[in-house]
């Protein structure tokens, strides 16, 4: 029997509404108790001055393996996840081939085991090949470990297909994750439609393109009794619709990314492709609504929406560059900068968006918690350390971040999975 004590940290566990300085006792890979004077142990981790939380969970990560290993591999994505404080990630199925069958889902699980970093759960495709036409093998995908179904960044244009998917997925108690975007209104778009798209002569993607799909999918969730999760919402109208739907008891959840909180469409003025992301960076009034939505609980989770792309793909003409920002390793300091430092969220609230919130969406009751008896997936944060974001030091294979050289505060110090240290920051 091995035992470990994480001593003297500020323990914040949302699942128990706990926020106090205490020790966390771990034995045989599981959390045993939170308190003081917990007796003799084999190993001690000093967490004084640090925050001790359940490990973070990301509900949708672009792992790019198999098929796009020039961007990312399971090994590099999971190493990046650990460095960002994540102990569990769900892998997007937009690989080559698409994860639309049992064998492909099992490959995701196998690659994660080989990498030996954090936990990885597959997400299965909603439609075969992400083509939006025929349903993928949803039942077999669920049996092979898929926690939810999604066509990733590809919109499901047909309301009929979406309706059938929601009805069918309900049998397996799995939600459908959608990236809400009406493809007819976003065709050839590269940024948010508004003053700056006019100024720059760039094709815009209006907020309405997102809000139309949010509205449709909420209506279909209500019709079918299925469960919908909206990935990376970005507009005032989306937040308002989700708020109303939740009040009506419709099964809808949603998340936001840190980059949609930290950056606005004004950043496109340098025509820098690192700011090209989908949904696009919006104007400041939308950003304010997202922060309100996080504060009042309308928005359940924060996801990095990690989308790695090799430099040769991003260093091109703006309209030929893929959408996406690499985000696992910068999520925490950006959340601190945009939410904690301005006093918009408490630490308890922020950690709910990274632990219990995503655990609920993925239906992982054993994750995102420090309750006694759960596997000891734990993230220790030093909230005071100042550092500068240097993409050259990323564990991710890709460097497509607009946050290079940002001065930030707060860093992941230690990450444990099953009570075993899997990551330790340099200098700790």
């Amino acid at each position: 029997m091995s035992s470990l004590l994480i001593r003297g940290g500020r323990v914040i566990d949302v699942s128990q509404r706990l926020d106090q300085v205490a020790d966390v006792l771990v034995r045989d890979g599981r959390v045993v108790q939170i308190g003081r004077e917990l007796g003799n142990v084999d190993q001690v981790i000093d967490a004084s001055g640090c925050i001790v939380s359940a490990g973070f969970i990301d509900t949708h990560v672009g792992v790019r393996d198999p098929g796009y290993e020039e961007d990312e591999t399971t090994a590099s994505a999971t190493a990046a996840a650990l460095a960002g404080g994540f102990t569990t990630i769900a892998a997007l199925p937009d690989t080559q081939p698409v994860v639309d069958n049992a064998a492909a889902a099992e490959y995701v699980v196998l690659q994660a085991k080989r990498a030996g970093n954090c936990r990885v759960h597959p997400l299965g495709a909603v439609t075969r090949g992400h083509a939006g036409v025929e349903l993928a093998d949803l039942g077999q995908l669920a049996r092979s470990g898929a926690l939810a179904f999604t066509d990733s960044q590809s919109p499901i244009a047909s309301a009929e297909v979406m309706r059938r998917a929601l009805e069918y997925a309900r049998m397996f108690h799995r939600p459908i994750f959608v990236h809400p975007q009406d493809p007819t209104l976003t065709a050839a778009g590269v940024m948010h439609e508004g003053y700056f798209s006019t100024l720059l002569g760039l094709r815009g993607m209006p907020a309405a393109a997102e809000e139309i799909m949010v509205s449709r999918d909420i209506a279909l969730a209500e019709l079918t009794g299925g469960r919908i999760h909206l990935m990376s919402i970005s507009t005032t109208g989306s937040v308002e619709q989700v708020r109303r739907a939740k009040q009506q008891g419709i099964a809808v959840t949603c998340d936001v990314t840190p980059h949609h909180l930290a950056l606005s469409d004004a950043e496109m003025q340098g025509y820098d492709s690192r700011f090209k992301v989908r949904p696009p960076l919006r104007s400041s009034d939308h950003i304010a609504s997202l922060i309100d939505g996080l504060a009042d609980g309308t928005i359940d989770a924060i996801s990095a929406d990690h989308q790695p792309y090799a430099s040769e793909k991003k260093d091109r003409e703006l309209d030929q560059v893929p959408f996406g920002i690499v985000g696992l390793e910068t999520l925490l300091p950006l959340c601190i900068k945009t939410l904690i430092e301005p006093g918009r969220l408490t630490w308890l609230q922020l950690l709910s968006k990274l632990t219990t919130g995503p655990a609920g969406i993925l239906q992982l009751p054993q994750s995102g918690s420090l309750a006694s008896g759960v596997p000891a997936d734990i993230t220790v944060i030093d909230p005071a350390v100042d550092w500068t974001i240097d993409p050259a030091r990323f564990r991710s294979k890709s460097r497509n971040t607009p946050f290079a050289n940002w001065s930030v505060r707060g860093q992941v110090r230690t990450v444990l999975i099953n009570g075993e240290v899997r990551y330790r920051s340099e200098g700790s």
Partner: protein, 319 residues
Amino acid sequence: MPTLTTPSTPSAVWNRQHLLGLQGLSPVELRLILDRAAEFKQLHAAGHTKLDHLKGVTVGNLFFEASTRTKTSFGLAAKRLSADTVDFTASGSSLTKGETFIDTARNIEAMGVTQMVVRHSTSGAPHHLAKHLRAGIINAGDGTHEHPTQGLLDIFTIREHRGQIEGLTVALVGDILHSRVARSNIWGLTTLGAKVIVCGPATLIPPEIERLGVEVSHSLDDIVPRTDVINLLRIQAERQRSAFFPSIYEYAHFFGMNGARVQRARQDVLILAPGPINRGVELTPEVADGDRSVILDQVTNGLFIRMACLSLLHEARQC
């Protein structure tokens, strides 16, 4: 004969290495280009058709998107200043073999090209090159963003006929959404004190354009009597993803310049069109060839504007 190698205007005020757009240029900088172009035009009229401002300099004309008049105009402007020129066009190039446009430009730069004239179908592409290359970049039209030398030659032509820009009302008519000419005209004209009206179907006016300091109108008939200059932008069929108006016939009915509309305009109205013009669509042949049209003046002046830009940028690099 004037000393042709010494600029007559103090070069201290022009210190830009690139001309990427008219946004952000000061009135002084704009006038500097216009005055330099006027000087070249006078020299040309006096018989000085070959000058030596760019002797020993190699100018690259990189046209990643098709162009006839702009490319010819830049090529001729460089030759009039005694530069060597290399031309690059996208068709039949390494681009079709998969080379990126940055690598293509780097290769051309490696041949000793220090100034590049760049046309590209993507907005911001010249800005991207300016970050990656040491050569001076002149934007010869990027996507639906800016076309600074076209804006300058339009303004030059107006100033030549009206003496000054300040206080004039200029209407830009047509497809504002997809027009790089419109954006360059808006920046240049408003900076020099003109009032600008953009006029076109609601589907072709981009959102929040009022914030650029312009008035928006959807009725050509309403604005014709109160404008000094009407610039008829081309309907760019090749840029339109879907139907922005019901038919060419309906467009011409509401937004085409015809004889009847010229009758209702001010006596001294100037009719401009950046071309290539679609006769019978943006304007009727009687207007295009009529006495208020300065369309061919624009083409002539384009040469002097491009000579001015090439020479000023070259001098800025010498400092």
